[in-house]
């Protein structure tokens, strides 16, 4: 039995190594590659991904999984081998259901669609992308049809990044969250808008960089097993347990963009660095889901990084780095500026409160598209109507409306956006559990100390990798099902206090 398990692991490691190699090529492409390298690089990455897919769907893996089933069943659910086999089977079954031709067609269409979007967005030209979206929608439905037996056509797409999550669970959860958020946004909008003009003064890039690096080092991001580089669109990437990198970008005239991007990506990276080393290059050797990942990035970015205790420690230090720019700005003014709530058009720039409304708008629109109750041609109008309804604003054109996010133009429709809001909801649940287990966490943060929080997260979330699903992690940590209550309580508490709004 052990020989078969070893053979299985070796085959899975080979597929993982090829994917990691493709990741290194991607990282290089987005950080250091000279422009001349683009054409060959695309081809090289595609070759690696195709080979990785071939290896991962080799029928020999299916046979080994069958042979090892009795062994798996003889073990407790939480056993490492049992978990490896369970997750490997889930991956194998999912990947083998999608024909290679279909995967190739999707990949090719994604590239064409992305290339079209890149030009269409600045030209405000929805008509140019509409036929692309029609095909994307068709492909997304065909994707779902490879997983018959679903309750909702979006479920197989959601299951890809958030295993176990379904429309039946998410729709009511998001509906309830929206119902809680809209009045909060309205109440905040009735208050005076804090001044944040000083955020846009001149801040030397290198000092911004150093300040951010100092914080994420204190957070617990290990630079012996990672590094930070500059790119256009920041992301975290894992090559192995010992090499988990983050990327960031800085703007001289924006103090917080680069800083919070660094904190966000470090949150993702600490999760990956914290996965049990034994799981490296196995199906367990990654974060559990898109939602759990986002819970970590947004917890370290927002719940910690935009909190009062955090800035009570770091603001004097930030002032010392930028005295000319910040000596006339009080800690309280700074805190209000970085937490300013304001209905706005751009999701990625949105504050903690309105952010979820951006996500829920997209989630509902993509469900309607998949269900066939909304046509692509009507999408721009539906977008505007949703923004009017949820945020009380409308984009002046499609550029900052329906053409805004890359997602629908570079992948399937469905299965991506839910992760962002799931992350916020789960992050608050984990935060509540962590602070209940260790009441000192907040005091430690006010001393620039993060070890208590980091080890709690490492013990309860990080080390498990993909062993448990998001629901299982939530159940283990909170003793119950996923609920929006901790998140709503967190938002009401923080922003109620800041804006002087009744917390009930």
């Amino acid at each position: 039995m052990n020989t078969k398990l070893q053979e299985l692991k070796s085959r899975l490691r080979e597929a993982s190594d090829l994917n990691s190699a493709a990741s290194v090529l991607y990282w290089d492409q987005t950080t250091y590659m000279p422009s001349g390298g683009a054409a060959a690089r695309g081809r090289q990455m595609a070759a690696l991904q195709m080979l990785a897919q071939e290896k991962a769907t080799d029928p020999a893996i299916g046979r080994l999984l069958d042979d090892l089933q009795p062994y798996e069943e003889s073990l407790p659910y939480e056993d490492d081998d049992a978990s490896l086999l369970r997750v490997a089977r889930r991956d194998y079954e999912r990947q083998t259901r999608l024909p290679a031709d279909f995967v190739g067609e999707m990949a090719e269409h994604s590239i064409e669609s992305y290339q079209t979007w890149i030009k269409a967005r600045p030209a405000n030209d929805f008509a140019a992308v509409a036929p692309m979206l029609e095909k994307t929608l068709d492909l997304s439905r065909r994707y779902a049809d490879y997983f018959p037996g679903y309750d909702h056509i979006a479920d197989p797409l959601i299951d890809e990044s958030d295993p176990g999550m379904t429309v039946a669970t998410l729709r009511p959860l998001f509906k309830e969250l929206r119902a809680q958020l809209v009045p909060l946004v309205d109440a905040i909008a009735a208050q005076p808008v804090p001044d944040d003009s000083f955020i846009y003064r001149d801040f030397m890039e290198q000092q911004q960089w150093d300040f951010g690096v100092d914080i994420v080092r204190r957070y617990g991001y290990d630079f012996e097993r990672g590094r930070q580089d500059k790119t256009h669109h920041p992301y975290m990437i894992r090559f192995s347990a010992g090499d988990v990198r983050i990327t960031t970008r800085f703007s001289k005239n924006n103090l917080i963009d680069g800083l919070f991007s660094t904190l966000h990506e470090a949150g993702h990276a600490m999760y990956e660095q914290g996965v049990a080393l034994d799981y490296d290059a196995t199906p367990l050797g990654h974060g559990a889901s898109s939602g759990v990942h986002e819970s970590q990035s947004r917890l370290w970015e927002n719940v910690v990084g935009r909190s009062r205790p955090f800035w009570s420690y770091f603001y004097p230090r930030l002032q010392a780095v930028f005295p000319a720019q910040l000596n006339d700005v009080s800690e309280d003014a700074f805190y209000r500026a970085i937490n300013l709530v304001r209905p706005s058009l751009i999701r990625v720039d949105a504050d903690e409160v309105t952010y979820n409304l951006h996500v829920i708008i997209r989630f509902e629109l993509e469900l309607a598209l998949l269900e066939g109750t909304l046509a692509i041609k009507d999408l721009p109008d539906a977008w505007q109507a949703s923004y009017q309804e949820s945020l009380g604003i409308q984009a002046p054109d499609n550029r900052d409306g329906v053409l805004q996010d890359v997602h629908w133009y570079s992948g399937p429709i469905g299965g991506v956006f839910q992760g962002y809001t799931l992350g916020n909801i789960m992050g608050a649940a984990f935060w509540q559990a962590a602070t209940q287990a260790n009441p000192d966490v907040t005091n430690d943060i006010a001393q620039g100390e993060f070890a208590t929080l980091h080890s709690w997260l490492a013990d309860n979330i990080y080390r498990h990798g993909r062993k448990f699903t998001a629901d299982e992690l939530i159940e283990r940590v909170t003793g119950g099902a996923l609920s929006i209550d901790p998140y709503v309580a967190y938002l009401r508490g923080k922003f109620g206090e800041m804006y002087g709004i009744d917390r009930t």
Copy 2:
């Protein structure tokens, strides 16, 4: 026929893409990778190289080559398709002769041997590496035996990096060169030693970097299709026609180490950037051989970069960058310092004249080892005796003697060192042809202009990639066989003048 050629090219491209991917991983490993990434990275690179080898030796390639033989024979020798088929066949026959097990055994042993050497060298412990060398020698002989019919056991090893070259050609060539060099070294040694102490003053790294980058940009190295990064042991690496990178290192207390390393690697890189774009990701898409490659690196480093016309233009500029360090140093003194000839122990630091003696010593020793006329245990003594004979010096210990170069400790014995001296010999031949064809080359260099030289090299050498062997290139350019005469004339001319030695 065309379909088969397309299929062949597609299979060759796949193997090439996997090798390029492995190269990106190597580049990252030696430039930016955090230390924690080492273990997985080694495994990932090995996986890629094994897959590339599998693809390159797929029997389907052999069948396609057979099927395409009539087509190849119907074409002129210089035709692109004919050349592609010819070189692809040469590669395929070579690679399929080596069993995968043997390749794996060599790769594994190389790593073990290298790890041993890394510790043994600082400890001056030849006894530790001796058993490794015994096995390396055994493997090198077995390597040769996969190519029966050779005249000399080193020939198959030499043929790997310098196709067509044999001991029968090289031994007399090197013997004659040695006979010319030893008296020249002796004559120089009888002259006063120029002062070069100012080279070791304090020079800010960033200024060194910028000065070097400016020069190689003028040389014609295209930064849109390349870039320079820092590493421990500088090298050039090609990922595709549009992405050919160089690496370098700088030392604050050595003005010339980093500069000439940059010029050297840029010489390699311009060669790769100049290969016909159509050849990218085919067997023709690289430099012709180790020797031809070295001819370009050493031509741009030494023949151009250490010449009087070059420094007549650049020295005032260098002084402007480092006024405090160089204003008391005349151009003539600087020129003498960077061209100082002095028998020394370390090959990589050796001057243009003695450098070849270092190479020839190693070449003769490895032939003796392969022939069985020298035993590993006697290698340290033989090393010392050779240095005494050729350079009149001896290393105080094995550290700077037989343990000096990484080559024997990380690859086969035989087949590597000849390329360095071949490069010098060929470089002088190409230089002579280029300056005869364009008498303005030297004047242009004195104006900081390199386009004439660069285009001559691109036309006559670079664009052909691997279409022609080194011998064929030499024949096309000089109308005759490889000769040491241009090289000896070059050395006598340059150093005779500098040291006031009779040029006859």
